[in-house]
């Protein structure tokens, strides 16, 4: 077993993990944060995307042990002070989700994308989400939602 200390959604955790425990299973099974999903076994689908120190990472392709000392944000930590992140609102308003299984990963990938480029074009959003697969939406409303959230975040004073 390996001992790790990390922060998840602002909460500090000390835990013992088997070395082979992938970060996603640590989050889901040891911390009960089941919002992060597993959709493949080849790092292809992005359903498991979380933020590690602010950047999007596929949590199926990272050992929990590698996350020692890191700050992790999952979809459960996206809303703050009881109000949704602008991306959550935009996905809702623009119908950017159907079955919702890829959605947590899409949201977290989008948070990272907008942190790196607050004013992307639709084309840049499509490429920024190239590591996330959705089988329901055809992506159009996801792109629209990210555009809408970006605009909202740029106009909101001290945005997120």
């Amino acid at each position: 077993m390996t001992r790790i200390s990390l922060s998840v959604n602002g909460v500090a955790h000390d835990a013992e993990v088997e070395p082979r425990t992938l970060l996603v299973y640590f989050l889901r099974e040891q911390l009960g944060l089941t919002g992060t999903h597993v959709g493949c076994d080849t790092s292809s689908c992005g359903a498991c995307t979380v933020l590690v120190d602010g950047r999007s990472v596929k949590s199926c392709t990272m050992l929990a042990a590698q996350a020692d000392g890191a700050e992790i944000t999952t979809v459960e930590g996206l809303a703050a002070n009881g109000s949704w992140h602008p991306l959550q609102t935009a996905f809702h308003e623009q119908h950017g989700l159907q079955c919702g299984f890829c959605t947590p990963g899409m949201l977290m990938a989008s948070v990272s994308l907008l942190a790196e480029d607050p004013d992307p074009t639709a084309e840049q959003i499509r490429h920024g989400l190239e590591g996330n697969l959705c089988r329901c939406t055809g992506y159009q409303n996801i792109v629209t939602a990210v555009l809408a959230a970006a605009e909202e975040m740029r106009s909101a004073p001290g945005g997120r």
């Binding site: 070395p19 790092s43 995307t49 950047r55 050992l63 590591g131």
Partner: protein
């Protein structure tokens, strides 16, 4: 899927990593960003007994200038390469290539050292390193050594890296002229069917020196010598296209579901022409 069980050690320094590797025996592997190794372990196609995690060795994570060279630490992520203003100016090819690897999540975790050490002939950075005449810096129990990229890649997933060694840095000359990496793939996140790394110096509209590295055109990244020679003196589209077509003179590339050898060669010639034009623009 879940990997087979293994032991895990977190290295505190390069020396510590080498020591841990030597203690761990032949099934020990270094773990950098994990984006080549962990996917194989999840499918249980790789079953190391010990992983030595070098992810916390901050000494391996840097981009710095040394005279007319840029040195990149092995644990520098693809994202950091793509995002570095310094690298973008000193060695734009490396930054442009890194930008096209995998997807953003992969670029956030995947490292230059891990990617190069993996020596996947379909991976993008090796061809760029070849075109750049890069040197690969390797640390071992007996000290440090440096290998030219041309000598480093020895076959599919085979390199000059020996058991117990650690790839610590990449040294590339500061680029003179223009550079471009073009990649042909089905989906943005896929490996290259063919990739072309081009560095071009020109005078008065004519090419004075060209270096062309090719991805997935053989068991190792390939340097397109015949094309490079033919490119010297070329300047207009026809002469560049003519030079690019000499990619035919290389050993025949592999064929697979996505490309026959003939199609792969043809794609390489098209991409060389476009990459050279883009590098000259």
């Amino acid at each position: 899927m879940i990997p087979s069980p293994f032991e895990y050690e977190r290295a505190t320094s390069v020396a510590n990593a080498i020591e841990l590797l030597s203690q761990g025996g032949e099934d020990s592997r270094l773990l950098a960003g994990g984006h080549s190794l962990l996917p194989l372990m999840r499918l249980r196609l790789a079953r190391p007994s010990l992983l030595v995690d070098i992810g916390r060795i901050d000494d391996l994570r840097y981009i710095t200038s040394e005279g007319d060279h840029v040195v990149v630490g092995a644990m520098t992520t693809h994202h950091e390469l793509a995002d570095s203003r310094e690298l973008g100016e000193a060695c734009p090819l490396l930054a442009a290539t890194a930008r096209q690897i995998g997807d953003p999540q992969v670029r956030h975790r995947g490292t230059i050292g891990g990617s190069v050490a993996h020596a996947d002939p379909a991976s993008d950075l090796p061809a760029a390193l070849l075109a750049l005449d890069a040197e690969i810096v390797i640390e071992g129990a007996d000290g440090s050594r440096s290998v030219a990229a041309a000598d480093f890649f020895q076959g599919p997933f085979m390199s000059d890296l020996r058991d117990g060694e650690l790839l610590s840095a990449i040294r590339v000359p500061v680029t003179r002229g223009g550079a471009s990496y073009l990649k042909f793939q089905r989906r943005a996140q896929d490996w290259a069917i063919v990739g072309v790394a081009a560095v071009v110096e020109s005078e008065g509209g004519a090419i004075s020196r060209a270096a062309i590295g090719l991805t997935n055109m053989g068991g190792t990244p390939v340097r397109a010598g015949a094309v490079e020679e033919a490119l010297v003196g070329a300047g207009d589209e026809t002469s560049i296209a003519g030079a690019a077509a000499r990619v035919d003179e290389l050993d025949p590339p592999p064929g697979d579901d996505q490309a026959t050898p003939a199609f792969r060669s043809h794609l390489a010639s098209v991409l060389i022409r476009r990459a050279v034009a883009s590098a000259m623009a």
